[in-house]
Subunit: 456 residues, 2 copies
Amino acid sequence: MSTPKASKVMPLSGFPEYLPAERIAEQHVLDVIRRTFELHGFASVETRAVEPIERLVGKGGDADKEIYGVHRLAARPGEGERAETELGLHFDLTVPFARYVVENAGKLAFPFRRYQIQKAWRGERPQEGRYREFTQADIDIVDVGELSPHFEAEIPLVVAEVLRLLPIGDFRIQVNNRRIPEGFYLGIGLTDVVGTLRVVDKLDKIGPDKVAALLVEAGATPEQARQCLDLAGIRSEDLSFVDQVRALGIQHPVLEEGLAALAAVISTGLDLAPGTLVADLRIARGLDYYTGAVYETQLVGHESYGSICSGGRYDSLASDGRTTYPGVGISIGVSRLLGLVIGRWGLTASRATPTAVLVALTDESARRDALRTAAALRARGIATEVSPRADRFGKQIRYADRRGIPYVWFPAAAGSSDQVKDIRTGDQVDADAVSWAPPVEDLTPALVIPGPGFPA
Amino acid sequence: MSTPKASKVMPLSGFPEYLPAERIAEQHVLDVIRRTFELHGFASVETRAVEPIERLVGKGGDADKEIYGVHRLAARPGEGERAETELGLHFDLTVPFARYVVENAGKLAFPFRRYQIQKAWRGERPQEGRYREFTQADIDIVDVGELSPHFEAEIPLVVAEVLRLLPIGDFRIQVNNRRIPEGFYLGIGLTDVVGTLRVVDKLDKIGPDKVAALLVEAGATPEQARQCLDLAGIRSEDLSFVDQVRALGIQHPVLEEGLAALAAVISTGLDLAPGTLVADLRIARGLDYYTGAVYETQLVGHESYGSICSGGRYDSLASDGRTTYPGVGISIGVSRLLGLVIGRWGLTASRATPTAVLVALTDESARRDALRTAAALRARGIATEVSPRADRFGKQIRYADRRGIPYVWFPAAAGSSDQVKDIRTGDQVDADAVSWAPPVEDLTPALVIPGPGFPA
């Protein structure tokens, strides 16, 4: 490989990369996500990184403006090259999944439960928790024509199970149903439902006074604006939000549908995972394709970091013109979450390598025997490497110590047995490579959570 | 999500995507690769998808011309936007890893063993086994200043262990050492070593007569051309290649170094994994940065499909101007391999979902109890979903059958026990969700290998 100039070797803002120990922590998080999704019967789908730009534009709300186009450097018009479809990197996993469903509809069994853990790209200004390249972990359940409402309760409970397995402290999944504000706004005489939702969605950022002013500016009366704020202020961990909404005295059939649907979701949550789902009528989600449940997720005590997991129900994820595919889904912002957990809180792994055992060498001629010892340990699932050099043992132990490898294996001297040393305690015992095993907690790197500063 | 036009929903040539069952087969292969790499003490690194174009150009040999550039669609000069680095998608995992090593050298422990399993992109003309988006699985061992030669034997043996765990039949890892042809060419008076290697590398494609003609055209005598072909014809599964080379009567100190180094690799292979490594002096590898061992891998009986796993030793993977980082590595062409194994041979999974158990519903009001049953099964690692609808049992069983889910769970009728049915055999037994488990082979989807056509 020719020599890269030192000047070119530098991080790119918005394209984070981890050192090996942090990467092991990231892998642990990704493994928990995948395992939980699979236990719940979601099948993996992986889509290509690119879509035709025409299919990306207009699908992403604000993300739209920040699509990365992709072009072959060698492509030159008139060179006999056929005109190729203009391509861009996907900015989420929903747009490619919608295309995948329509493209493969005849070969999928519906309702189709899929998970997808992949990178996505947006050319936004990088900041903490917001990157240009980031990993998302999505689940969606998609059906043909109609989607049963019970899936709106199931989806956030799957994600709650993931989050409980991660060292992130308490969290709340805030749930609303788009029909509640929709019916309410119609009930008070505001017909621009999407416009009103967009303004109310700014509540956290600009506060109630400015939201009211914007609503009035858009044509609402001060009374209507106050009513919108009253609705948005309702929040309950139980079903009392229903009575609180009723107390506002507004009636509309769509509002009633929304209240019943949200009550069903919260009730399932109370029953199966108490304290996890919260009815929060402020949650609107910026994107206007949601039609039922909407979800956001905040870490308790870190609400200002924003939602780490969002989604909702859409009545037409995709359509091929004849058939419509409604769905409900949620997306864990893995990079965003890790920006906090690894980036700010310092979560890492107990060692920078999977290796549990280093086989030491008395001299270079002993390497093949050492490789056989290593193979015997690996055959029983113990990650093992052989010392790179037959240095004196102190130096070989230092090699292990620098990486956090807990055990060093010493080959038998004449007439004696092999021995293994726990280099953390200094304990050294006779051992046989076909039977010895470390305690299960030493088998793979553990998550290391920094001292008192960690909020878990 | 707004409706994609049907006309836009189509596969892109060179960007393959799998259906769920095939994806499970792919995941199985990727899991075997990761697990084996980790058992051998390689730490995962994941690098960003993009590099500055300046760093990509000139690094990839032929790949060079087919880099995908990446640009923000919204970027407009003069809009207050700072000039940004021109970026391209990486076309392999070696160039980004070289940059990662230099960038993080102070924080890595050397020799550094890393694996990297990621997508890469090349705008080449798509064909079977050659894609525009593809997955590679690389291992490299990199040191500072000097790299011990024993790693040249270790690297192909790790990959052999991976390949033995995959349903791909017999394979051979062909090994050469660049010093052998180099020393030999110098010994017969050909000083353009790289140029000669490039011509000899075409042997499989154009045959010996044309190679000889090209060599003569480039200035070799017919006798020198014949000698080059004699060397390239040498191949042995044992150490007899050394005597075959000696029999050609050419002497050069670099040739002797190469023979000793290759003999050490083959000898380790004979000892630890007989029949896996083959000395093959035809192997040159197109890229001129290899300096020691070079590897290619062919599936026995499918040699014309080309190498599925290639690499070698390079004496300067990277340099920051003061320090040089030599390394040795190999890359499994995962997409290429799967193009054969899944694409042509039809490898797939026994079911299109991770789900092992479907909990049936007598009526919709029983859903919460069914969700509790499912949670009890999942708590013991059994992937479970609840029936989407309280249809009659026959229809619920069909839901399971269409996906290949092997078990359907029936909730207790009054006074009786829950029951579980193996829908393949029809066997139905009393069962308790806190203790029942399926046989281990039903816990996760198995690889399904088509009948007599499969070459394994």
